[in-house]
Point group: D2
Chain length 288, copies 4
């Protein structure tokens, strides 16, 4: 397929490479210049509008502001050579996804929400889990692209924002898992049991899953740099969760605790560390 790819951060670069590898023709564009040239086999283009064209355009930008700036304020939807569909893969707010769905509908462009679970290494291996929502036929058409980037595409309804709700729910559960490990570790240390001993056992048995194993190892080793998933980014996502929860009238007390503890971590200088550093808050509060 003829694809335009917008947003070449660590995730976007790896995803674009997988598309090329699968035989798709990929035009690439990035807000900061220079990056587009590095992707072997891709065609760098000079404007976002040139990328927003073809059989499908894919956006993988860092946040609401970036996506809004490029797509809405950049006027891409009014352009001439518009794409057959827009695969919106960034982690954005439910509200922006709803707004974009409405704008695309008016502009007559199919809009599919398709955020992903997985870190850059999973993206590089084409092993992402993609959660997709939107018009079924559009998702179908995007199939060859989704298959090139992910292990599996999970379908979640016909409203594109539902995929974003699922992504946020997953990130909420991820940050909750870190907080639970952090509190449990501080509790264990308070009784003379090393955090690493506790977490090795639990993440090797009842909690033997990728999230617990990965973050548990970081917490056990007090290894918070370099960041895989930055703490400040996690705080942003919990903010998106809280706002979407408010819109749907869902009290989420765990999310409230996460919010406070992420702020506590940022206030103590850990905003640029890995999200696993959230676990240090419980320990610090216990006076250790």
């Amino acid at each position: 397929m003829d694809v335009g790819f917008i947003g070449l951060g660590r995730m976007g670069r790896a995803m674009a490479a997988k598309l090329i590898e699968a035989g798709h023709t990929v035009r690439v564009w990035n807000r900061s210049p220079g990056v587009a040239q590095e992707i072997v086999g891709a065609t760098p283009v000079g404007t976002a509008a040139e990328a927003f064209a073809g059989d499908a355009a894919i956006t993988m930008l860092s946040d609401d502001a970036a996506l809004r700036s490029v797509i809405v304020e950049g006027g891409l939807l009014d352009g001439a050579g518009r794409p057959g569909l827009h695969l919106s893969m960034s982690t954005i707010s439910v509200a922006l996804a709803q707004e974009l769905a409405a704008i695309h509908a008016r502009a007559g462009i199919a809009y599919v929400g398709a955020p992903v679970f997985g870190r850059p290494d999973a993206a590089a291996a084409g092993a992402l889990n993609i959660v997709a929502a939107g018009d079924a036929a559009a998702i179908e058409r995007a199939g060859p692209l989704l298959d090139a980037m992910g292990t599996k595409t999970w379908r979640f309804g016909t409203e594109p924002h539902q995929a974003n709700a699922v992504k946020l729910a997953g990130n909420f559960m991820l940050v909750s898992a870190i907080e639970a490990m952090g509190e449990a570790a501080a509790f264990a240390e308070g009784h003379g049991v090393p955090a690493a001993d506790l977490l090795t056992m639990l993440t090797g048995t009842l909690f033997a899953s990728p999230v617990y194993k990965g973050y548990g190892a970081s917490i056990s080793a007090s290894r918070y740099e370099p960041p895989g998933f930055g703490l400040r980014l996690g705080a942003k996502d919990i903010g998106l969760v809280l706002r979407a929860a408010e819109a749907a009238n869902v009290p989420m007390p765990f999310a409230g605790v996460l919010r406070d503890n992420l702020i506590d971590a940022i206030a103590h200088g850990d905003g640029d560390k890995d999200l696993a550093a959230l676990a240090t808050v419980a320990t610090r509060r216990s006076g250790r």
Copy 2:
């Protein structure tokens, strides 16, 4: 080995059976009569004192009150034919474990804390994860018994109560996982995504671990009866976590949320359902 087994609930029965299967001689005693007779190959005895004897005595009672009543108030430590060691496998408070360790030390009986992770079906399969703490030589001596009951024995220091702290930390993480799934499910439903769709995806990928899969399936199916691990029992354990955390000066905001939500569930009539019913609180609070 010549073993006395005290406490023949669903867990105790299955554990005693594994000991017999492994060739040990097992005297059994239970507070409510009749049960002891049902265990094939065991020797029912008429008093707790007769069971509290031999190479090792194992206690697997329901809570602090039961253990205190049988061992301390029952005067077992002053008896004549005392056991070579006491393997204390109940889920009890850190404080009682500390008290019992002191009492046993004065009485000259080795006391090992060895609570377990696993439900009755794991016990029946000899597949428990046992967390042990106490005198290293005593744990060593108990090896053949531990091996008969569990897949693996994890060692956690020389103070018996440290094993209880680990057990409580694990149960705290377990209840936290259920709460996180409950909030995430209510959030998803609030955006029109069925809870089952969300949880099937997450517990099949990032959270593919026994705890998430098991409780996630219950929440997805709204199946809370019959109880595997009763909600009221979970509330009791979170109470033990909070008290032990207070003793060690560890703030645990997640545990505070769990406490409130478990009370909410009990106040709405779900105390005798499975712990997974905790997940219904978030949904109810969102007005659905």
Copy 3:
């Protein structure tokens, strides 16, 4: 003084009347038409721009969106007959106050933040407590206006947004007081003590202050309609508190609880009742 008054809700109307009573010349404008004509002694004008002129312009609008729409999007700052100073008395976000301060500075108009504490009856009696921040000379110039509307003007620094932070801090304390009374009342009822008995005693002694007496009486009588300060409005303000707290890296666990419980109340149909209805959440959660 020659004053323009924008925003004639229940508060604005009463405040404008006090200005007229004190001898000031007052042009009035409101987004919904008709209201301006009702204020005896005022000069209704047809556009916001006509009101945004004279010695001083006062804005008393319902929220960020309204103020932004009228002032910024309405292009008032670029107009010809601009006022000597803008007294911004609405309860708005700290972020918008900062943005407006910057915009006014560029436009060369003095901008004073001056939100108020007090309900419409206090406004009608000229008995508001006004919290003011901004350029000292500008506040000085506004003195005759502030004195006409309030019992006292409290000064809080030279940045206009500081007054908004103070207003939000006060509202946070107010909602916290209601929540504390609600939990205490549910606790007392759980032990057979009528909420009214408890609150009559406490609000007559240790907590004998306007906020506790007023809201305590509503809770005691379960009287939540008609709303004085609407619950949904309170939820909006707690949202502003949380966002401003995040910007300043301040964890506020009480605010997090308030957020969840206000959502719970809204989800159960109490959004249009008085803020005191927050107290019903604790009772409902206790199964009564």
Copy 4:
């Protein structure tokens, strides 16, 4: 009346003195010796049993353990010269109050729960607020004593523990007020507004009550020593609140936050300071 007074801490001493001043005959006893001799006009006695006699015996001990030790374990209820009624004025748990009511009923001694609000200076002025519950006739008989010690006696039902529930509810509201001021102060400071400026305004207007004025002044001045009401004592009371709330199935999320923050304060060395030091937790967590 002929009164025995047990427990001569700062509160008890002042209360006994008021009884003497009102013309009552007062026998006094204290666990630590020496104190009884200091109370002018009282008759020191050598045993608790000698004090637990006469028309009425009053107990004002520090906590559950002290009261249980003196009354229950000391065997006072089986003694010969038992009092006409027992006025139990200590701040104790609801559970102990229920247990004592039952024990006294069996022993045929009238038991009245009558804890107080007020610090030692209020006790010295006879200006306590007394909350009483129990048999109406017994409270009536105690009238002259209650009148001598307090400004007013508030009646709360016929079960003695209901007075303790009211006392705990009041202390919960008090600690909540401190926490709310602490968070509001940290929020204000985060926006450059001195805590003292904020709290002077709010405790002079909407929150002009004894609790807010007193603790607000301490927080404004960062004056936490010497302790009036010790922080560790406050933490103990919140523990009693949580346990009594659990018994009545009442979720209390504010109490959960208080618990964590009081632990945080204790973990950082503030357990022996005044309860107002709770306010420092919010500031510390914000990185200041």
